[in-house]
């Protein structure tokens, strides 16, 4: 028997784990029988840690000890826009760590983002082990295709902390395509439109039998279903403020209720054209008077609320199609991935944009985990059955003089790939060179993500222009970047996994693993009588004349709530095709889902037409497991914020001086005549690439010399002319 390796979709709102055994892919449900588990970590006062649905229930009671939507923060700098937004909105404490890193503080303890992610991964691992019945140590983890190197690296670290050997960091749309096309001998060109809780990806792939070639990918890591929820929260809060003069945003408990309501309404509108939003006792004013929110919401109103967000995705699609060199009508199929794609308004606009019906029979919540599982199985089996030819989503750049960043590897270049540049020192006897690596699409260094910087000193000192240093940039099949600097004369090299300054060092990782805080996670709880799980009732999937099945099972328990929010114990409804007969739910198999029924635990509790759901404190308490995303952040993430990068400028002096040598040492004469000692240390890249002048702004010498603390300058023959 071959080794077991699982596939994990580590989502912003929910995570999912799957395995492929004996040629069959199965989504492994948690102890509640649900296919997805909330990506929420709760730190209890007693030191215990809950992950998943039990943790999600905690949000309303201990918002400051419950960490949700952490995927939006992983691999980010403290000064980034995303972190600022989260700080303003999240009830948990985000603090700055060394080197612009961030930590989440809970009581006396601080946790890095990879450690939080590790707790979720650890839970998914336990779920898998419980279902498979043997230890699991290997996994493929899916991440948004548009994740940059920092985010990928942090995710990989998370896997390590969770005790998993991460076989591959796999792009989510690629995983979805694999799940769709694996073993079917297809020859198709497809687009995968993937809107998750916090990110949007679009990938265009060509499936040719066993080869899955990504032609292009594009995305927005600031846009997801949670942003839709924020729009509705804003609407409800604004209306409430007009009516009562009370700002609900100032009350964390009221805000949580709004979030649950907004999320519920979104899911309701995936099934119905109108929902009833009722939040009894949303807040009690200073006179002791209790206020409620009651409002119906039509899908048309909702579409108007989120339309601009949806349209943003199509701008990204334009870009991806253009990069792939295809037009919408060339595509053989469009796959929808992610919970929000259940919204009719999404399906309609996608249909309109691509001029075709999206593929049916794909479960948008599970397809990524299933694809990851297929790839995981393939990576531990002796026979290779599918070849994934993926691309890097973002251009790789090197910092040059004038605050610019020059492209070394273009976005959508297939991986693995390697490119080498040769540099030389700029001054006689120069001690070291400083190399800064960026990812992004802007020529302005600061508009890109700084992946890391390192200084290389291990070369024999010489006169300027004599030292030759090869700097090699590599992107591997995980999309992870590494950079090596080698002194040509001696062959001595400094190799670095580009560690972003805010990332975890090897030592820190070891410390975290030694601390073993993930061991505090309470193992998948056995439900007791007081635990109630709200599952799904996809009404539309049940023919109208079918008697509703009432069944008392613990697994996949569903609560119906009446207007008074009292629990109707006998009202447990299960989707017909998924009702587990025994508490231990059978794993959900990967056969293409029949319509929208494969949604156990994902749809809102619905009563009748028009579907309604209630929210009261009580509901929220028992709502321990509504497994879809909970709204986490308000504000509009659609405004694509680009983080300002603090470029260190204090590194003036000897260590910055580099010149790209390439082949023409005489190019150095370009610089002749001036006193380089005044430079404050720019590094020059001198190459034969006169073509640069066509596309990249080139420094005049004056500009060059006025810019302190920058690293490399791209100078070429043409740059003489402007002087």
């Amino acid at each position: 028997m071959s080794e077991i390796a699982i596939g994990i979709d580590l989502g912003t709102s929910n995570s999912c784990v799957a395995v492929m055994q004996n040629g069959k892919v199965e989504v492994l449900p948690n102890a509640y029988g649900e296919a997805t588990t909330a990506s929420v970590v709760a730190f209890r006062e007693d030191g215990g840690i809950n992950v998943g649905n039990a943790a999600k229930a905690n949000i309303i009671h201990c918002p400051d000890r419950t960490v949700h939507s952490s995927k939006r923060l992983i691999g980010r700098y403290f000064f980034s826009q995303e972190v600022k937004k989260a700080q303003a909105i999240c009830s948990y404490q985000i603090i700055e760590a060394e080197n612009h890193g961030l930590r989440i503080q809970v009581g006396e303890e601080c946790f890095s983002l990879p450690e939080i992610a590790a707790m979720i991964l650890s839970e998914m691992k336990s779920i898998a082990e419980a279902r498979i019945g043997q230890p699991v140590t290997k996994a493929v983890i899916a991440v948004p295709a548009y994740f940059n190197d920092n985010q990928r690296q942090a995710t990989k670290d998370a896997g390590r902390i969770a005790g998993l050997e991460v076989l591959r960091i796999l792009n989510e749309p690629t995983a979805a395509a694999l799940s769709y096309g694996f073993g079917r001998g297809l020859s198709q060109r497809v687009a995968v439109w993937d809107l998750g809780g916090g990110t949007f990806d679009i990938s265009v792939l060509e499936i040719g039998d066993d080869v899955f070639e990504v032609l292009s990918t594009a995305g927005d890591t600031f846009l997801g279903g949670e942003d839709f929820d924020d729009r509705l929260i804003d609407l409800l809060a604004d209306e409430f403020a007009v009516r009562t003069g009370i700002n609900l945003r100032n009350d964390p408990f009221a805000l949580e209720k709004l979030k649950v309501a907004a999320e519920g309404a979104k899911k309701g509108l995936s099934l119905e054209s109108e929902v009833e939003i009722r939040i009894p006792d949303v807040i009690t004013d200073e006179n002791g008077e209790s206020h409620s929110i009651e409002r119906s919401l039509t899908s048309i109103e909702y579409a108007a609320l989120v339309n601009d967000l949806v349209q943003t995705t199509f701008k990204v699609c334009d870009e991806a199609l253009q990069q792939a060199g295809v037009v919408a009508r060339d595509l053989d199929g469009v796959m929808l991935v992610g919970g929000p794609t259940r919204l009719p308004l999404i399906r309609d606009t996608v249909r309109e944009y691509f001029q075709q019906e999206p593929r049916e029979g794909i479960d948008p919540d599970r397809v990524v985990a299933m694809g990851a599982a297929i790839h995981a199985a393939s990576l531990v089996s002796p026979d290779q059955e599918a070849y994934l030819l993926d691309v890097t989503p973002l251009s790789l750049r090197i910092g040059i003089v004038g605050g610019l960043a020059e492209k070394v590897i273009e976005r959508n270049t297939p991986v693995p790939i390697e490119q080498t540049r040769t540099f030389t020192t700029f001054k006689d006897g120069q001690e070291s060179v400083e190399i800064k690596v960026f990812q992004g699409e802007s020529q302005e260094a600061e508009d890109n993500e700084l992946l890391g910087q390192f200084s290389f000193a291990d070369f024999d000192k010489g006169a300027r222009g004599e030292v030759e240093i090869d700097v090699t940039f590599e992107i591997n099949t995980d999309g992870i970047v590494s950079v090596t600097a080698t002194d040509r004369a001696t062959g001595r090299a400094a190799s670095t996994r580009i560690t972003l300054s805010s990332g975890l060092s090897e030592d820190e990782l070891d410390d975290i693993i030694d601390q073993g805080r993930t061991d505090r996670i309470e193992q998948t709880p056995v439900l007791d009588e007081n635990d109630h799980v709200i599952g799904a009732i996809p009404l539309k999937s049940i023919p109208a004349d079918t008697p509703v099945i009432f069944e008392e099972t613990r697994a996949s328990k569903t609560k119906l709530l009446d207007d008074d929010s009292d629990l109707i114990e006998e009202g447990d409804i299960l989707p017909l095709d998924e009702a587990p007969a025994v508490p231990e739910a059978a794993p959900v198999t990967a056969a293409p889902a029949e319509g929208p029924t494969g949604e156990s635990g994902e749809a809102p509790q619905l009563k009748s037409e028009p579907s309604a759901f209630d929210l009261s404190e009580k509901t929220a308490q028992v709502n321990s497991s509504d497994p879809d995303e909970i709204a986490a952040f308000s504000g509009n993430f659609a405004e694509k914020a680009v983080d300002p990068i603090a470029i260190s400028t204090e590194d003036e002096g000897d260590e910055l001086d580099l010149i790209d040598l390439d082949d023409d040492a005489e190019d150095l004469d370009l610089l002749g005549g001036d006193d380089e000692d005044d430079l404050g240390g720019p590094i020059l890249e001198l190459g034969r690439d006169a073509e640069l002048a066509d596309t990249e702004p080139v420094m005049t010498k004056d500009e060059l010399f006025e810019t302190p603390g920058t690293d490399l300058s791209a100078l070429d023959d043409d740059s003489e002319e402007p002087r």
Binding site: R168, V211, L379, Q384, Y387, V408, I409, V415, T477
Partner: protein, 170 residues
């Protein structure tokens, strides 16, 4: 492409710098874009790191080096502009590798030249054709393009423009 013996893999990795991209992908210089894609797929089946993870680390690193060069070759040859720049470099004995960023900028320049004319006379008549086209005089535009083509007989862009102008003129 057949499976390779360890010694063959190591030998290929050793001589890889001597192979140009066409040789690496087993392609003829006039290979079509479809040929390039198919060659990339079949070569990847042999050298993709996933397919070779069971090898010992020496061999794995040799395969990895080949795989990286294969993607590099594909990235250049699949794009007409980059491929043009690379062919020029090969033609002038400029080495078997081209930096991707350079191939792109050189390719763009070549593309711009093609689109605006590579010769002074070609550019002149092409500009005149544009003026005629703006006025809606497609017959005149076609004549100017015809003249431009006498200076640059292999300019595909001019040819397609001429075809379009003739159709419009009808």
């Amino acid at each position: 492409m057949p499976e390779m013996a360890p010694t063959e893999i190591k030998a290929l990795a050793r001589i890889i710098d001597e192979l140009d991209y066409y040789q690496l992908l087993h392609l003829k210089p006039n290979a079509s874009p479809r040929d390039v894609k198919l060659a990339f797929h079949s070569t990847s089946r042999v050298f993709h790191p996933d397919a070779n993870r069971h090898l010992d680390s020496d061999l794995r690193s040799a395969v990895g080096d080949i795989a990286k060069r294969v993607t590099e070759a594909y990235q250049v040859l699949r794009d007409a502009r980059r491929r043009g720049a690379y062919d020029d470099q090969l033609g002038s004995g400029g080495g078997s590798r081209i930096r991707l960023a350079e191939a792109l900028t050189a390719g763009s320049r070549q593309d711009t030249e093609t689109r605006q004319g590579r010769t002074p006379q070609g550019r002149q008549y092409f500009n005149l054709a544009n003026l005629d086209a703006k006025r809606g005089d497609w017959a005149a535009a076609a004549r100017q393009l015809q003249t431009a083509l006498t200076f640059e007989p292999d300019n595909e862009f001019f040819k397609s423009e001429l075809k379009a102008a003739r159709e419009k003129a009808r």
